[in-house]
Amino acid sequence: MTRSPIPLPQVRGFLQTQRTDYWWVTPILVLLGLGSFVIYSTWAAFQGCNYFIGGIDQPGVQRLLSPFYSPVLWDPTGINSGHAWFGQLPGWWPSFIPFSPALLILPFPAGFRFTCYYYRGAYYKAFWGDPVSCAVGEPGFRGGNYRGEQKFPLIMQNIHRYFLYAAVLFIGLLAWDGIASLQHYNADGTRSFGLSVGSLILIINPIFLSLYTFGCHCMRHFVGGNHDCLSCSMDGGNAYRKVTWLNQRHMLFAWISLFGVAFTDIYVRLCANGTWTDLRIL
């Protein structure tokens, strides 16, 4: 096979283009949107407090748990959220490693989004200008050394499907948190049904996350994309068509669910620190 290189006399420098439209708007919005989320979620993950309300010592308050902290494997020392699977932080945890329940959880959803096909295309442009936008000159230093996802380190993006498995599991857990948010403690320690604005937020959040997760390109591959014969599948390609519908709106659901999960954490956090009060509906 011979594919002789093509001589290209016209090489443009960084940001050079003949485009006259507002091509720079989208990368800036992605930079601001994703950058803000990363900064906020990192800060929130390290707090290790104000991640729940409605504990046994808060009768009448609906039980809300921040999605950044769910599931809680261990509560930090001195905190009893009532959500921890294994109780208090065990003594063997090295004291020099800061502990927050979110630090054990967030790598999985973060990994899912980091390796997501939509986000990859978006942050390659917005964060390291590869390219900044279509038909706009790139930083010159990369040039012929470009490796893309063909080689290390970005070849690791191929791990995306494993993060998908975790993301599906997390949707189940967050849906359970939504159901649990329909409860509050009574003064005598028993639990009763109730509904609050926070409960609605915790129920809607996993729905948005589902719309994003189940429209994932890997999911589309698993439900039919990996077969040449769709009609041969057990459901006649029905699941493939439904996932394709979601996949065509993947960018939309990616952003809605991203802001949704951040807002859910903000809501719980502000209720927990007393800034807001979770309004009871029922």
């Binding site: 096979m1 594919r3 001589p7 006399p9 439209d21």
Partner: protein, 267 residues
């Protein structure tokens, strides 16, 4: 290469007809060694596309302006160019969609060697196409030598058959355009061509190894520029390249799927 702007000596358009408006153009003139933008003015009337303007310039002001075209209906893929920096078909760019009070810049595709003015040498694409394993159908299903398949199985592939080979996707792809990986990367057009063969329900050939090792599918970093410029609105990235990337993962990067494939005996 020179990039100064020159003004054509013969630039006296006829007086505007009713409803005509003058539009100023900067058109790249030159060959592989040298070139510059040259300014022209054309009186544009309702319904004109950019290719009409180029033809009018050829007819009235610059009879030696080189421009490749054929059908003027967005189906032959000949008149690819960069209009205001965006890879587009000249025949499908209506003048009323361009900013009315700004100069319109028309350049040849930047990812291919220039022959002259707006005409580029796209023969690299045809050389690449020859290297892709051809269609290899399974044995006929029926005694009369025919096959049986269902429309829904062929729908995915038929989308890719809309391609008119204008090579705008190849032009805009930064792997070729900015990184010049044309020796290691076949570009979105041919990743899609491979997908059309690979996803065909009758095909038995395996091209996944080639996609990874020879065709450089990993160089695609999903910027979706190819999809954005496609005049046939084919979902190149979502429907062709990413599904192929997933098949590469199945075969080379995912130990669990590989295990399943061994047990199921897939190709």
């Amino acid at each position: 290469m020179s990039t100064q702007t020159a003004t054509a000596a013969i630039t006296t358009p006829k007086p505007p007809a009713d409803h005509a408006r003058p539009v100023h153009f900067r058109i790249w003139r030159g060959d592989k060694d040298t070139g510059a933008f040259v300014e022209y003015t054309v009186n544009v009337t309702e319904g004109m596309v950019l290719l009409d303007c180029v033809h009018r310039i050829q007819a009235e002001q610059a009879s030696d302006l080189a421009c490749r075209w054929n059908c003027k209906a967005g189906k032959c893929g000949s008149c690819s160019a960069e209009i205001n920096g965006k890879p587009s078909l000249m025949c499908m760019t209506r003048m009323d969609t361009l900013p009315p009070d700004k100069v319109v810049t028309v350049e040849p595709m930047r990812s291919f060697p220039l022959i002259r003015d707006l005409v580029t040498d796209v023969s690299w694409n045809f050389r690449v196409k020859k290297t892709i394993k051809p269609f290899k159908p399974r044995k006929p299903d029926n005694a009369d030598g025919s096959w049986t398949m269902f429309q829904q199985d062929i729908d995915r592939v038929q989308e890719f058959r809309k391609c008119i080979e204008c090579f705008l996707c190849q032009d805009v792809c930064h792997v070729i355009r900015d990184h010049h990986k044309e020796d290691e990367f076949i570009g979105p057009r041919f990743l899609m061509y491979t997908a059309a063969l690979e996803m065909h329900p009758l095909d038995t050939e395996d091209r996944v190894g080639d996609l990874k090792n020879r065709d450089g599918i990993g160089y695609c970093n999903i910027t979706k520029c190819c999809t954005k410029v496609c005049p046939e609105h084919i979902g190149i990235t979502d429907n062709a390249i990413i599904p192929m990337k997933e098949r590469v993962v199945d075969e080379f990067y995912d130990p669990i799927t590989r295990l399943f494939r061994i047990f199921k005996g897939k190709k």
